[in-house]
């Protein structure tokens, strides 16, 4: 009897917490949407320029979010481009090759890395840029490349951990299947274990994408600026959505400008949604490729 009512209570509690979470998220999104939807339009993105000509890079956008959107997109892609191979390789090493001792040491090391506040990583990136500026070339300073490298350090632990955890979670029978058929360790890892882990690894990559798209602390120290137009190269400064949101909400002159901040937030969330869908699509494609390639 007592257990039955306890079970009831647990279920009710679980429902309530779920409901709380759901309402918090919908409150947040709803608030943003209601505040910002009026300012989301082509003028917010392209200002006075013609959208088509702006996308074709024939016309510069001076008073729109277009450069910030492009900047964030390039930044995210570059950062995960650095972080994925290194993070996956490290995760594979930890799960499959590392001796118990090496594993203990590296585990502690990556725990520390994932605990470093992003502002500290940003500061380090800034110091690195200054160092390069002093010792190598006047033309190097805080820039897109340095930001993306610093961000990839920030998200590396996500990819390492999810890769490692999904590999280690594979049951022993599955692990032995290909080995019993004469696979080398290397073949087993790349033909069976990694394809089996793609779903888990992808969740780490999605976390990483979100983190790269939203982080402000790192980029404001390593190259993001309020207004510079489209990034001209990897060694140039750039605009980014989160930095724009931060900047406008701390410096806005009138209500209209604040509304633009809300609009930018909506666009940032939409951008993340697009990136997530692309990541899911790639995962599906890869799994399908592994399955049905003749």
């Amino acid at each position: 009897m007592r257990y039955r009512s306890l079970e009831r209570l647990t279920i009710i509690f679980a429902w309530l917490t779920g409901l709380l979470l759901l309402s918090a998220v919908s409150l947040l999104l709803g608030y943003l949407f209601i505040k910002g939807y009026q300012s989301v339009n082509l003028t917010l993105i392209f200002g006075d320029a013609s959208p088509l000509r702006a996308i074709l890079l024939q016309e510069r956008v001076f008073n729109g979010l277009f450069p910030a959107i492009v900047g964030t997109l390039i930044l995210v892609l570059l950062s995960v481009f650095w972080a994925i191979p290194i993070g996956m390789a490290t995760g594979i090493y930890l799960a499959e090759y590392a001796s118990p001792r090496a594993k203990r040491v590296l585990d502690a090391f990556f725990d520390v890395l994932s605990g470093i506040p992003s502002i500290v990583i940003g500061l380090f990136g800034f110091a690195f840029a200054v160092f390069l500026h002093k010792h190598y070339s006047d033309r190097i300073g805080p820039c897109l490349l340095i930001s993306s490298i610093a961000l990839s350090f920030l998200v590396l632990p996500y990819i390492i951990r999810t890769t490692q955890a999904s590999l280690e979670g594979i049951p022993r029978e599955t692990r032995l299947t290909a080995l019993a058929l004469g696979a080398t360790k290397f073949q087993n890892i790349f033909l069976v274990l990694i394809p089996r882990s793609l779903t888990g690894i992808m969740s780490g990559i999605i976390l990483a994408i979100g983190r790269c798209a939203e982080d402000t602390a790192v980029i404001m120290l390593t190259g993001a600026v309020a207004s510079t137009g489209l990034p001209r190269s990897l060694f140039a400064q750039y605009e980014a959505l989160p930095f724009y949101i931060y900047y406008i909400s701390s410096q806005y002159a009138d209500r209209a400008e604040l509304m633009q901040g809300y609009g930018a937030s909506i666009i940032l969330i939409l951008l993340c949604a697009v990136l997530f869908s692309v990541a899911y699509g790639i995962r599906k494609g890869l799994t399908h490729f592994a399955l049905y390639r003749p």
Binding site: E173, A178, L179, L181, A183, T184, A290, P294
Partner: protein, 234 residues
Amino acid sequence: MTPDIKIRVADLNFSYRDRTILQDVSVEFPEKTITALTGSSGAGKSTFLMTLNRLWENIPNAQMQGTVEIKLQNQFRDIYAPDLAVTELRKMVATVFQVPNPLPMSIRKNVAFPLKLSGERSRGLVDEKIEQALKMANLWDEVKDRLNEDARNLSGGQQQRLCIARALVLEPEVLLLDEPTSSLDQASTAVIEDLLLKLKDRLTILIVSHHPEQVKRIADKVVEFTDGRIITAP
């Protein structure tokens, strides 16, 4: 007449950490016969099979002493000698596990998988060998029109025959089966038993089995495990 010996195990000891699982096991298995390994659960039968294809080496904290010799390509070879690559050994000593374990791929790719591992590229040859192996495993007629479907959509019995086909595709000389029918219904079990009887003309089969009925139906020889030692019955 006495058939030729295929596998010779001498003074085998096996332990996980400090726990002895097999103790002073010496036993021989004749060629082109079915030998049933019986004994209560936990007696070390699966462990014993893993000493014949060195699969235990992938399990942490396992240790083995003793010798295992198998006649491969008409010549007795110490399977733990450094001149025999473990991947080569496992291509000649194939294994089928208790729970059917098709890889998450199409039926065709599952059977082709060992060929891919050994670097076989020619599409024509691969297709030919797939067909041959599936026919040998009595599965061809059921799957020939759906080779590109996910193997996990097959029934349990079909999956297990697929695993047997996959084990046969490299034309091994020894086939180890660890309770291959324990997760299957009676009809599927009968199909697999017939299949094994058919296969014994070609290769040497060791099968772990819990069912006295099954042992009586298919085995030429029985080896019983108790407390990590063995009692051989005729």
